[in-house]
């Protein structure tokens, strides 16, 4: 084990933890936004997958990761728009529509990939990084945390942005009211449907960028079904974090760290059932967030469509 703990190995573990955590962070922040506004966005897995596919296509053909992320955002937003139309505008069941969207996107992206890349499986070049002076020189943590693609810094900065929006702005109040007391928001002259629609589409943008990160930086390619439930983990993080962006970040990083820990234990030859080791991320996130996030609560009107005048 001692011979294994080299700087290179430890750096790769931290690097891997961040890479695994970023898509979950973006999905979790997006889901949290949607839930704040009262929409249980089960379709976030489909939004991530659409973002992964469109993001990869855009990055591959343009040779630009930034255009890839823009494409990912557009892909996620397109799926979110359908969700908003069906669930927010027409009041259909959010769980049923969310599952249907996810299944539909899985099939569509698999089909498109089959015709487009099924014989070639193109792969992107390694992402270029933006080292932060001084910090990137730190041993182990430097290369893993401070020598990354700017989207990583942007994703983490989103935590502060979302916290600021929720706590300090009228928009944050509107979102909170759309989720807790939509009728009161309506009476105050703010359109509940528009507020919720905007929240769902913003969720799609974030989930789409998360999916694009997974495809373009996490893997360097697109594979059908590659999100593998990351969107659902994002939902769990958002549910457990209960309105606090910082807790989504904590959950995503704990999850990523535990994934890296499982790799470390296996590579070190610890012979315990892999399933037990791989329960670690889920168990750790639930334990931490349940213990420290108990006092927060979910929006009162979560999952309920809003119809003016309905009782």
């Amino acid at each position: 084990m001692q011979g294994l703990l080299t700087d290179a190995f430890l750096t790769s573990l931290v690097f891997g933890a961040i890479s695994a955590g970023i898509p979950l962070l973006l999905a979790g922040l997006g889901e949290q936004l949607s839930e704040k506004a009262g929409v249980l966005n089960i379709g976030i897995e489909g939004m991530m997958l659409a973002g992964a596919y469109v993001g990869f296509v855009a990055a591959f053909y343009s040779s630009s990761l930034w255009l890839g992320f823009a494409g990912g955002a557009a892909g996620g937003a397109a799926v979110a728009l359908v969700m908003a139309l069906l669930c927010v505008r027409h009041g259909l069941n959010q769980i049923v529509v969310g599952i249907a969207l996810t299944l539909g996107v899985e099939g569509l992206t698999a089909l498109l990939h089959h015709f487009q890349f099924g014989r070639t499986y193109p792969r992107l070049d390694a992402a270029t990084s933006l080292p932060i002076p001084v910090l990137s020189e730190l041993p182990i943590l430097g290369p893993a945390l401070f020598d990354r693609h700017p989207i990583v810094y942007g994703a983490i900065a989103m935590v502060a942005v979302m916290a600021f929006v929720y706590r300090r702005t009228n928009l944050g109040l509107d979102l909170q009211a759309a989720g807790d007391q939509p009728a009161a928001l309506d009476v105050a002259g703010v359109d509940v449907v528009t507020t919720r629609t905007a929240a769902v589409i913003a969720t799609g943008v974030m989930a789409g960028v998360g999916g694009a990160f997974m495809a373009n930086i996490g893997a360097g390619l697109f594979i059908p079904f590659m999100t593998g439930g990351a969107g659902f983990i994002g939902i769990v993080l958002a549910m457990l974090a209960r309105g606090r962006p910082l807790w989504v970040l904590a959950g995503a990083l704990i999850f990523g760290a535990c994934l890296s820990m499982t790799t470390a234990l296996q590579v070190a030859g610890v012979n315990i059932p892999t399933d037990v080791i791989q329960m670690l991320p889920f168990a750790a996130v639930m334990a931490v967030l349940v213990i420290f996030g108990r006092r927060a609560s979910l929006p009162a009107a979560l999952g309920l469509p809003y119809v003016r005048g309905a009782r």
Binding site: F15, A110, M214, S260, G269, Q278
Partner: protein
């Protein structure tokens, strides 16, 4: 007496009906979780089913890209369409497929469930390329510069466990001092390309300069990792693939692949159906009939390849034998403590 006659007639009718059914296998279906163009498990399954259909004069229906969820509706639909055999080509289907076989009475073939045989109804083809993996292990130990090789898998199904074990035995037989780093991406992370890349990068950082990767879609993430991550000595990392041939996608890191050909297995299944012996025995692939082989690539040093081919001849002659090990716990133990066969 009349009752006895009726019973005998009924049994005779049932037997003759069964025999007609058995002889009349006009079409079979193969169901795969991913598209049959993955240069691996799914493609080999689809290609082999088509080849088997051609050899036996049976029509083949391909249902691909079905995902890893509930496959029962597709199985029911295929059964209603009248196929004579449904090959459920994913370990994730081995609960649903026997259920639908019972329900529709259409035979199914499943994987990774050797104890699930039911005569006439359920056959299992838990295949093992352990002989090829052993040779791959010998080759890996010959070419490693760092003295460390890695095994990355996206799950621990029996077929892959036996190949991981075979690889480890081969490595240790060639050079007992070579270290083996073993990592599983996830319990069923077959399509987790990002996980494949992440875990492979860590295994490379742990010193491995040869990666033996088993992973369906996730193997493309492994391939991406070896292409973009230098070994700890600064040199190239080699990749050893399984089941399919990714030569056309290679950017210079593909050392070889343990290639499977499942055609003989599917042909045997169709013949067993026709002979009413379906579901009564297990199927195997191996070096001797060419259904398992090592892929020759342009990246292979000629001298090492010749040495490995000589070992292959010894295996076929029975001078070297490798016993498949399907149990995950035993395979993990082998990674730190394995003896040469």
């Amino acid at each position: 007496m009349t009752g006895l006659k009726l019973s005998v007639s009924a049994i005779a009718l049932a037997l003759s009906f069964g025999a007609v059914n058995a002889a009349d296998v006009k079409s079979i279906a193969v169901l795969t979780p991913e598209q049959g163009t993955d240069f691996g498990w799914n493609q080999q399954g689809v290609d082999a089913a088509k080849a088997a259909g051609e050899k036996t004069g049976v029509e083949v229906v391909v249902a691909e890209g079905l995902g890893y969820g509930d496959v029962r509706p597709t199985l029911r639909e295929l059964a209603a369409d009248g196929v004579g055999l449904m090959i459920a080509h994913a370990s994730g289907y081995n609960t649903a497929a026997p259920e639908i076989a019972e329900e529709t009475k259409v035979p199914v073939a499943i994987v990774d469930t050797p104890t699930g045989l039911k005569p006439g109804l359920v056959a299992d083809y838990t295949l093992s390329g352990h002989e090829g993996a052993y040779l791959a292990g010998r080759l890996a130990a010959k070419v490693t510069r760092t003295g460390t090789v890695g095994v990355v898998v996206s799950g621990e199904p029996p077929s892959w466990n036996s190949q991981s074990a075979g690889f480890a035995e081969g490595v240790k037989a060639e050079n007992p001092n070579v270290k083996i780093r073993y990592a599983v991406i996830g319990p069923a992370a077959y399509a987790d390309a990002a996980g494949g890349k992440r875990v492979t990068e860590s295994v490379i950082a742990a010193g491995a300069d040869v990666i033996f990767g088993q992973g369906n879609g996730s193997s493309f993430g492994m391939l991406q990792a070896v292409e973009t991550t230098p070994a700890t000595d600064g040199g190239k990392v080699w990749f050893i693939d399984v089941i399919g041939d990714k030569s056309s996608l290679d950017k210079g890191n593909l050392l070889t692949s343990v290639v499977w050909d499942m055609t003989p297995v599917y042909v045997a299944m169709i013949e067993d159906l026709k002979a009413d012996t379906f579901g009564t025995k297990s199927y195997a692939i191996g070096l001797a009939d060419g259904s398992v082989k090592l892929l020759e690539t342009k990246n292979l040093p000629a001298d090492k390849w010749a040495e490995v081919m000589a070992l292959k001849d010894e295996m076929i002659a029975g001078k070297i034998t490798v016993t498949p090990e399907f149990d995950a716990a035993k395979v993990r133990a082998m990674m730190t403590d394995v003896a040469a066969p």
